[in-house]
């Protein structure tokens, strides 16, 4: 039996310990905000926070998550008003929107450790998150806005 904390709630899982965390979150818990995009940690659509670090939940096994605290997009802010979420809305970042939960989780983790990143630091931090619609210009601007308020 694996126990872990997801968005502040204790959870337990008695299935395959080699199951990627992503599928536990989506299929077992019904937290579908984290998306499947590649299954190999290449696109970032499944990004969640594991003990505060941004990770690709498609490559984190349940056994790796045992005893840890997971925060998903659903748990980032109780009202959906994290500064990153607000900036995303202020700049109309999303097009199809599918990758955006992962983008937001990645950006929130960046700002938690680096409150005022340079453009280059934003690029490095966000480079693992693909947006096929190509919203990058606005993602870059929204991370900056979340950091600086403008």
């Amino acid at each position: 039996m694996i126990t872990l904390r997801v968005n502040g709630q204790e959870q337990s899982f008695d299935g395959d310990p080699s199951l990627p965390l992503l599928w536990y979150l989506r299929d077992e818990l019904g937290l579908t905000g984290s998306k499947y995009g590649c299954g190999e940690g290449l696109c970032g659509a499944c990004t969640v926070h594991l003990d505060g670090q941004a990770v690709r939940s498609c490559t984190v096994l349940m056994s790796d998550a045992a005893g840890k605290s997971v925060v998903t997009i659903e748990g980032l802010d109780p009202r959906g008003n994290h500064p990153v979420q607000r900036a995303w809305r202020a700049l109309g970042v999303p097009q199809c929107g599918f990758c955006q939960a992962g983008q937001i989780m990645q950006a929130a983790a960046l700002l938690a450790t680096k409150p005022n990143p340079t453009d280059e630091e934003i690029n490095v931090a966000m480079d693992g998150n693909i947006c096929r619609c190509g919203c990058y210009q606005r993602i870059q601007a929204a991370v900056r806005m979340a950091a600086t308020g403008v």
């Binding site: 905000g33 929107g97 937001i104 190509g134």
Partner: protein, 765 residues
């Protein structure tokens, strides 16, 4: 004002038997309404689409007693904002509804009810601007009539404004909620009698002030995509499909797969022999309690395939074949003047050859669908670009009448043409049926998506220009060799069809007296499908790169060369010299090929981009223009190439003339995203085949552009247009000019001409 003296409309309303004609007489006489009256002065191709358009306000609008206005979005929302924001916004504006009291519900797949729902071809706004206005205007007039009846006054004395109807002289007001029940009972005014708002009075149209309706849900993870559907008792499935087109399943051993924890069943899925439109490829499905178990179970399957005839497909060899074919005469599909004479008397003949590989849509949300299918009924939940057409396809496959098939449309995590093909929804339906009605969600992995898609074609393009002693181009021969999408629907015709030829080959708008366009034979060995902007990608890449080559060869400025070829403002009508011109489904008179508009976007983007400005060493500017989906887009790309050959894009400028525009903010977003997709198309992406199998597996081998490589800034300029200028496409048109503008810029920066995509390591030094 003499027309309202009888006041028949009021009496009619009071009796509850409105004589529509009389009602109109009254309202038409109102001078304040005159400015906005009248239907459009142009025709579109909307009516010619399957099931055409529907303009019944009862189909699209409901108003409850609290005043909440519900608008049905019946088309697919894949990220342009057109389906769920822009079209409902048009309706709401014309209705004089307060957007903060509007909610959007997604319509199910049902074209008899909603009209055409096939969301491709960049058609949503150009086909639905007026139907949405008609719905809104009709309901607004019904609300006004209901209010006038309530007050016992003539309808000419009342006016709907911002979610309520006001009696001008007394100042009395009734909200839409209070009037809704009465208004809904009234007959719908006839189309010819509708009064439209003066465009100057638009609250939302043209302002760009309305965020997309799903914005909050997207940023909080609540937005529901196809991948997110959950039903009680639902099982998860992944499918092992034949790795080669038309490959057959010989045998499979599921022993190990069934040992994987969470795997419950392994069953065969029926496949169809190609060509089979959107029917599934077939294969072996692993059914499990979660997706992760299904994926792991599939990896443990032992399958023997018979690859069949397409195992010969090899991209390197096929490229050689295409090249050789492009060097021989093909089928002539446009012929003007005498190209052979022009070539023989030319002072110089300049030749350019270009190769553009297969591309994959690689939508962030791979194909997926959920189904519950019993003996006499089917219900589907899926991200489908054509929910109505998919319903018909699924019904046919299941042998059910369409009314027994419910298709619930989710948000699409990207479409780009892939989700126009409902093979994945049919797989889910077949699996649920095989499992006796158990809800099944089929998930495609990224590998499935890249290896079993409906790929963008692969093309070899050869252009020859005859140039006279004065450096004037007097002859143009363009041969295009690429497999056709029609190979998906019928025995392979092996030649590009008129629809494909009309995307940048036979509609070339240049002022050259001798033009011949030819297509060469190119058999298909994989499923070919629509991909954002379709055959415009290879055709525009060749034509616009070649203009850059001509400029260099003739010592002219790129932009001046381009404008010289475009020539004076005029309507180019290739119909006199082609068998069939497909004008994106639109009447040519409403949407002609207008070189004045084409040149204008070139001039506009050049001016805004500071064409000719001084640049740092290693930088270069490139320009390209292309008309597609009846819009005109010109792009200037600035590149920087460092000493090692690393490419970056400091700036992109794009000018778009898409006629009257509804949502400039989303048009800007489409142009920004179009530049990124154009860069992905050009930079590192290609799907290649060996032994009939796709060689790419995931985003590591199909490296779409990431944030660090993306254009640093894309500036967008939208040509202003009145409501009398027909609206035209936005989603696709920004893509075609990007790659040639990029490669023209690379040439300006480095002197290297990229003739073969992807660019890959061609710039390495």
């Amino acid at each position: 004002m003499t027309q309202i003296i009888e006041n028949v409309s009021r009496r009619g309303v009071l009796k509850g038997v409105v004589a529509t004609g009389a009602l109109i007489l009254a309202v038409r006489a109102l001078p304040s309404m005159a400015a906005g009256s009248g239907l459009p002065k142009y025709q579109t191709g909307a009516g010619a689409m399957p099931h055409g358009v529907v303009t019944d306000p009862h189909v699209f609008i409901a108003i409850d007693s609290a005043g909440l206005v519900t608008i049905v979005a019946a088309r697919a929302e894949m990220g342009t904002g057109a389906a769920r924001t822009s079209l409902p916004m048009i309706l709401a504006d014309e209705l004089e509804a307060d957007w903060s009291r509007v909610r959007i519900v997604q319509g199910e797949g049902n074209e008899e009810k909603y009209g055409n729902q096939d969301t491709d071809g960049s058609r949503s706004v150009r086909h639905w601007l007026w139907p949405m206005r008609e719905c809104g205007a009709a309901m607004r007039m019904m609300l006004e009539t209901a209010a006038a009846a309530r007050w016992g006054v003539d309808v000419s004395e009342v006016e709907a404004t911002n979610h309520e109807v006001v009696h001008r002289s007394s100042g009395r007001r009734l909200g839409y909620g209070a009037l809704a029940a009465d208004a809904m009972k009234l007959p719908v005014p006839a189309k010819e009698t509708l009064r439209f708002k003066d465009p100057a009075a638009f609250r939302y149209i043209g302002t760009g002030s309305i965020p997309v309706v799903d914005l909050f849900d997207i940023t909080t993870g609540r937005a529901m995509y196809g991948q997110d559907v959950r039903l009680p008792g639902m099982k998860y499935a992944v499918i092992a499909r034949p790795p080669v087109l038309n490959g057959k399943l010989v045998s499979f051993d599921a022993t190990e797969a069934l040992k994987v924890p969470g795997v419950e069943k392994v069953i065969e899925v029926k496949g169809w022999k190609w060509p089979a439109k959107f029917q599934p490829l077939g294969g072996v499905a692993v059914i499990a309690r979660n997706t992760g178990a299904a994926i792991k179970g599939r990896a443990a399957l032992k399958i023997v395939w018979d690859d069949g005839e397409h195992a010969v497909y090899d991209s390197d060899k096929y490229r050689e074949y295409l090249m050789e074919t492009s060097r021989k005469p093909g089928k002539t599909v446009r012929n003007e003047g005498d190209i052979d004479a022009a070539m023989s008397k030319a002072a110089r003949v300049i030749v350019g050859e270009y190769y553009i590989p297969h591309l994959a849509h690689a939508t962030m949300e791979p194909p997926c669908a959920t189904a519950v299918v019993t003996a006499d009924r089917a219900e589907i939940w899926a991200p489908l670009q054509s929910p109505g057409g998919s319903r018909e396809d699924i019904a046919k496959t299941l042998g059910l009448p369409p009314e027994k098939v419910v298709v619930n449309e989710t948000l699409l995590g990207g479409g780009f043409g892939r989700k126009s093909k409902c093979d994945y929804a049919q797989e889910a339906a077949l699996l649920s049926k095989a499992l006796g009605g158990t809800p099944v969600k089929v998930i495609w992995t990224r590998e499935d998506d890249l290896q079993h898609g409906y790929l963008h074609t692969v093309a070899y393009e050869r252009i020859e220009a005859a140039v006279d002693q004065n450096n004037k181009v007097i002859g143009w021969r363009h041969r295009s060799v690429a497999p056709t999408i029609w190979s998906t629907f019928m025995p392979d015709p092996k030649y590009q069809q008129p629809l494909e030829q009309s995307m940048g080959l036979i509609d070339v708008p240049f002022d050259i007296p001798n033009i011949r366009c030819e297509v060469g034979e190119a058999p298909a060995h994989t499923r070919i499908g629509w991909y954002r902007s379709v055959y415009n990608i290879p055709h525009a890449f060749a034509v616009q790169s070649f203009v850059g080559e001509l400029a260099a060869a003739l010592g002219k400025d790129q932009k001046e060369m381009l404008l010289e070829l475009i020539g004076p403002p005029r309507i180019v009508d290739p119909r006199k010299s082609v068998k069939e011109l497909w004008n994106y489904g639109e009447p040519f008179d409403s949407y002609p090929i207008d070189t004045g508009r084409l040149a204008r976007v070139v001039e506009l983007v050049a001016e805004k981009a500071g064409w000719g400005r001084k640049l740092p060493p290693g930088h270069g500017l490139g320009i390209a223009v292309h008309r597609s989906f009846v819009s005109y887009v010109a792009t200037v790309v600035e590149v920087a190439v460092d000493a090692k050959g690393n490419l970056s894009i400091p700036r992109v400028d794009t000018a778009i003339d898409c006629g009257f525009h509804v949502n400039p903010e989303r048009i800007t977003a489409q142009c920004e995203g179009g530049a990124v997709m154009g860069l992905s198309n050009a930079k590192n992406c290609a799907i290649t085949f060996k032994n009939g199998r796709v060689q790419q597996t995931n985003y590591n081998t199909y490296p779409v552009v990431r944030i660090s490589e993306a254009p640093k800034v894309t500036n967008v300029y939208i040509v202003p247009a009145s409501i009398d200028v027909p609206p035209s496409g936005v989603g696709e048109p920004p893509v075609p000019p990007f790659a040639p503008a990029l490669c023209n810029a690379i040439f300006a920066a480095t002197g290297k001409r990229i003739r073969s995509l992807p660019i890959g390591n061609q710039l390495a030094t």
